[in-house]
């Protein structure tokens, strides 16, 4: 299992050809209290960089982009009733969707944990 990070502050953990996607702890801190998450439809095919959903706090709304190309296989229905899970466990139970990767080479374009940490530090 490997975890990679995008410049849009998504994380993806890949197990076989299935990736689990969410937003990073850094992103949830920037957003504040999450009140709503809009998820993609299961079966939807997404290109890397496509809009996959929206995460809303009281004061901001941000698009979620798919870090890789593939087909959505599952979404985290628990977020409907408990959007605050994104705040309490962004990189665990607060995952958004699972996607079947079409091209695992795309992962090479993403950052590893160390690079992402540096990226966040630059963003202040």
């Amino acid at each position: 299992m490997t975890t990679k990070y995008s410049e849009d502050h998504e994380w993806i953990t890949v197990d076989g050809d299935i990736g689990t996607v969410g937003i990073t702890d850094f992103a949830q801190q920037q957003l504040g209290d999450v009140v709503f998450v809009e998820l993609p439809e299961v079966g939807a095919t997404l290109d890397a960089g496509d809009e996959a959903g929206v995460v809303e706090s009281v004061k901001a709304a941000s698009e979620i982009y798919s870090p890789v190309t593939g087909e959505v296989t599952e979404t985290n229905g628990d977020l409907e009733d408990k959007p605050d899970t994104v705040n309490t466990d962004a990189e665990g139970d607060g995952w958004f969707f699972k996607i079947k990767l079409s091209d695992s080479a795309e992962l090479d374009d993403l950052m590893d944990a160390a690079a992402y940490k540096e990226f966040c530090a630059e963003q202040g």
Binding site: V35, F36, E38, E56, S57, V58, K59, A60, A61, D84
Partner: protein, 967 residues
């Protein structure tokens, strides 16, 4: 003592002195305080020489405040108010006097602002909640917003939403042909901008089998027919199209609601619930839909949450849908809606209750039945058997002649075509109106008709399957206030919960909360202005025509533009109209493909939202560290998009409250690359009498009459957003499909069409701006601008040592507003701008604008109407709050639990068994001694925004059950 002249004793300019807060002596004092000797010196240091225009405004007369009203009275008398039977979405109504006097004529209601600060807005939000509940009940839907601008706009918003949520890939929208024609016109304008195809036809017979994203039908039809919509709705939904119903709340007191037939969206006007026709507006349009579409709904929605004590509290819900957050991705560009009118309509329902409404609707329906039966007996054919209030009469070849004859008897009818007349009944229709109408159709025979006899003979013509039981307005609020005494006290109870201008200054940056002079408000309820149908023939509306002409002349003089369109109902609609006008102009030159709209990063969120509505692509231009447009970036963007550049939208003075020196260069760059310049006139209050945008570069601008020109904000509407244009754009300004001459410059050429339902938008409140300008005269308007700038600079100077002032012009002065920075405070103490804003409530003030245009700042705009006394009072409060912050910084008080983080302090805390706060009650409630004399008590503690958005409730809940849920 020198002897005064008669002219001095007459004091014809007295209004100017009353409108402008500081006295001449105060002005000198304030100038010295900012280190200047004269007003001219201040203006020289704030307004760039390059745009200055010191020619005195040619707005002059010798009338006093009283004389102005007399003059306007003469104008009003030129309007002839006939009995209106035109219908088409506008009906006579009886505004209950208790509502007229205690709401429409009460400064506590009309001078309030949009309820962004929830804690000081609980009263009007409760009134809006009543309105939402009423709309939900009568339409049979699950969720309603707190109003939109008018019925046509609501239909256009419904179309846009249908496209967003429909699973159909189609770009076609079907409109049932029995729609109000003005609604269709507004839809056509919007559909064109979005690239939708409108298909108009008989929804019951001609609905296509496929390839639609939405279907709109009117119920009852514009010509009166009441038909079961279920087959149409089912068929629409079968092809994944949304079913939209335009309806009428009065009819829905008797008819099966569209929600029960499966409608997805129901829209319409609440005008006939006690809001005068006013020659077209303002009125509140309603918008109701399914709960599942709540995040796709346009406009403000009031919802419940809890406060810091866990008690129920109201707030504006789901704001992330809106333009100020989502910008070009917002559900709509709407900001201001029609709060005051929605409040009135809601109160109308509260006062009458379900029994009263059903009786009123029943009377209207009976009058229509009797009228129809009488006409039948006179030998005329009534086209539809089933109707509510509108009958369509078949008069082959005679429609024009009969309508003319009716006008001789002072009745206006609707001429549907040469062979058909429409006749609508309303709450004000009297027996003698019906008798007169019959005699118009048949002079002699009509005498044989007996209304009392017919009343016993007419039979119910609405099929039982389309009638509804009394299953609405069951909430206690609609049953408790039916006596005038109770109603009067209920409205007083609500208005006392809020801070409006009748309590304290509202220093909201970018909102211009100036005085709404009482004299200017008086004419709007005169019957000659209030009871005029928007489609009354022009020869009956000569007073209004004179008013428009004079107002347009004054606005042109003040702005330097050549033509004005009064049609847009709000600033946002002005932006949309202005951009469409630009596109139409470019199209006329064969450059219709130009669609890029440059928008600076510092712009109001409405700008990008409007650009998207006008079918444009938004390209963001960077701003420098001072909030000014980065001219180099602008050059690069303009060059990059030279082939597709349509417009730049620029707010001037900027949203940062600064007169950008480069404005002329900025306009030149855009023009050189083939684009037009749209100026957002939100900050026009800083320019009137000093500079005229029509002369220094912009091609088109909207004016917020509800900011600069004294129309009240009404707690979140009405607004009026006319646009001014240079000559080359004038032919393309809005016109109207039903009334000729709305855009005289068009000369028969195709314009952008209609952007609002009524030809002159919210006509009935235009006397306010007319009166304001007429009474201020050219020199008073200039002085108002100068004092607005002085007041802002005086505040900036006083506050700067405590809270650094961000952004000034090259000489260190601000324009008419200033931004104070709370980021250093947040850094040093953890105290946020929200804490300061809420603490101001304990001092009795409405907070300044929070976090716009810069996060963690407050933007303050005092306006010219605030006196030195009031301005000092606010400065003193802010300075004392800074001392409270200092105690946190020094570690003298807890960072998490202090008088700021716990603010505001509602009265029920007084009775907590134990006062467990680490500070005294005196400090919490009475931080300054003056409050012992006049204290504002916030009805709730700080409202929990997160809770409200996570648990959305936007209808009136039984309070007890809600409290349980909160626990």
């Amino acid at each position: 003592m020198t002897r005064e002249t008669l002219e001095q004793l007459e004091a014809r300019d007295d209004f100017i002195r009353r409108h402008i807060g500081p006295t001449d002596a105060d002005i000198q004092k304030m100038l010295s305080a900012i280190g200047l000797g004269s007003m001219d010196e201040l203006i020289d240091k704030t307004v760039p020489r390059s745009i200055r225009d010191d020619r005195p405004l040619a707005i002059d007369n010798v009338k006093t405040e009283r004389g102005t009203l007399d003059y306007l009275r003469e104008m009003a008398n030129r309007n002839k108010v006939f009995t209106t039977m035109i219908g088409m979405g506008y009906y006579g109504t009886k505004t209950p006097s208790v509502i007229l006097r205690n709401v429409l004529e009460h400064a506590g209601w009309y001078t309030a602002y949009t309820p962004y600060q929830a804690e000081i807005s609980q009263g009007r939000m409760e009134a809006l909640m009543n309105y939402q509940q009423m709309v939900v009940d009568l339409t049979g839907m699950e969720l309603a917003n707190a109003s939109l601008l008018d019925e046509g706009t609501a239909a256009a918003e419904a179309m846009a939403m249908a496209h967003r949520v429909s699973k159909s890939k189609s770009d076609r929208f079907f409109v049932g042909e029995d729609i109000h024609p003005q609604t269709l016109a507004v839809l056509q304008t919007r559909a064109k901008a979005f690239g939708f195809e409108l298909v108009v036809g008989n929804a019951f017979e001609e609905l296509p089998e496929d390839d639609l994203f939405g279907v709109l039908v009117q119920y009852p039809g514009s010509c009166g027919a009441v038909r079961d919509l279920k087959p149409v709705i089912d068929k629409a939904q079968g092809m994944k199209a949304l079913a939209v119903v335009a309806s009428d709340l009065m009819a829905l007191c008797l008819l099966k609601p569209p929600g029960e037939m499966g409608a997805d969206i129901v829209i319409g006007s609440s005008q006939r619930f006690g809001v005068p026709m006013g020659y077209g507006g303002p009125h509140a349009a309603f918008f109701a839909t399914r709960d599942e579409y709540r995040r796709q709904t346009p406009g403000r929605i009031i919802g419940y949450s809890i406060d810091s004590q866990g008690r129920p509290a109201l707030r504006m819900a789901l704001q992330t849908r809106e333009q100020h957050i989502r910008r070009e991705k917002a559900t709509s560009n709407i900001c201001t809606s029609q709060v005051l009118l929605a409040v009135m309509a809601g109160f109308y329902a509260v006062y009458h209750g379900p029994d009263g409404l059903r009786r009123i609707a029943g009377k209207i329906h009976r009058m229509a039945q009797i009228t129809a039966e009488g006409l039948r007996r006179l030998g005329f054919e009534i086209v539809h058997d089933s109707f509510f209030d509108t009958i369509m009469v078949h008069v082959p070849g005679q429609a024009g002649r009969i309508a003319a004859h009716a006008r001789e008897r002072e009745i206006n009818l609707r001429v549907i075509d040469a062979d058909h007349l429409g006749i609508s009944m309303d709450e004000t229709t009297r027996r003698r109106n019906v008798a007169t109408l019959w005699s118009v159709f048949a002079t002699k025979a009509a005498e044989q008709l007996d209304i009392v006899q017919l009343d016993t003979e007419v039979e119910e013509n609405i099929p039982a399957s389309l009638r509804r039981p009394m299953d609405y307005l069951e909430h206690p609020v609609f049953h408790r206030y039916h006596s005038e005494t109770e109603m009067m006290r209920y409205m007083r109870k609500l208005v006392s919960k809020d801070i409006a201008l009748n309590r304290a200054m509202i220093p909201l940056g970018s909102c211009t909360m100036k005085l709404n002079p009482a004299s200017s408000m008086i004419p709007i309820t005169w019957r000659e202005f209030a009871h005029m149908h928007p489609f009354a023939p022009l020869d009956q509306t000569q007073g209004y025509q004179q008013l428009f002409e004079e107002l347009e002349d004054m606005l042109c003089e003040a702005t330097g533009f050549d033509s004005i369109s009064l049609q847009p109902n709000a600033g946002s609609q002005g932006e949309y109209s202005g951009l469409l006008t630009i596109r139409k102009y470019l199209d006329s030159k064969g450059q219709g493909e130009r669609d890029v709209c440059l928008i600076p990063a510092s712009a109001h969120g409405t700008n990008p939202a409007s650009a998207v509505m006008a079918g444009m692509r938004v390209v963001v231009v960077d701003c420098d560290d001072h909030g000014n447009i980065d001219v180099e970036d602008l050059k690069a963007r303009a060059a990059e998009h030279a082939d597709s550049l349509a417009a730049l939208m620029v707010t001037y003075p900027s949203t940062h409250g600064v007169f950008e020196e480069a404005i002329i260069d900025i306009c030149d760059i855009v023009h050189e690359h083939g684009g037009q310049v749209y100026m957002d006139g939100a900050n026009m209050n800083a320019m009137v009498g000093l500079a005229r945008p029509g002369k220094f570069g912009p091609d088109v601008a909207h004016l917020n009459l509800h900011k600069t020109f004294a129309i009240p904000h009404g707690g979140g509407g009405p607004g009026v957003g006319p646009i001014g244009v240079k000559t080359h754009l004038a032919p393309f300004l809005p016109d109207h499909s039903l009334i000729e001459g709305v855009n005289p410059a068009s000369g028969g050429r195709e314009t952008i069409g209609a952007v609002a339902s009524a030809p002159w938008g919210s006509a009935s409140i235009l006397p306010i701006s007319w009166s304001y300008m007429f009474m201020m005269k050219g020199h008073g308007l200039r002085k108002a601008t100068e004092v607005a700038i002085l007041n802002a600079n005086y505040m900036a100077k006083r506050l700067d040592p405590y809270y650094p002032v961000l952004y000034t012009g090259k000489d260190g002065f601000v324009a008419h507003e200033c931004i104070v920075d709370l980021r250093p405070v947040k850094e040093s103490s953890g105290i946020s701008n929200e804490d300061v804003a809420k603490r101001l409530i304990d001092y009795g003030f409405h907070a300044p604008t929070m976090s716009f245009p810069v996060a963690d700042t407050l933007m303050i705009e005092p306006t010219e109407s605030e006196s030195l006394y009031e301005i000092d009072r606010l400065c003193d409060a802010l300075i004392q709050i800074r001392e409270e912050i200092a105690a946190v910084e020094k570690g003298e008080v807890d960072r998490e639990n202090n008088v700021l983080t716990n603010a505001p302090h509602p009265h029920h805390l007084l009775f907590d068994q134990e006062w467990d706060k680490p500070y005294t009650r005196e400090l919490a409630f009475f931080p300054i001694p003056e409050l012992h004399e006049d204290k504002y008590w916030p009805p709730v503690g700080r409202v929990d925004n997160v809770y409200g958005d996570r648990h959305l409730v936007c209808i009136c809940p039984p309070i007890d059950s809600y409290r349980e849920a909160a626990e």
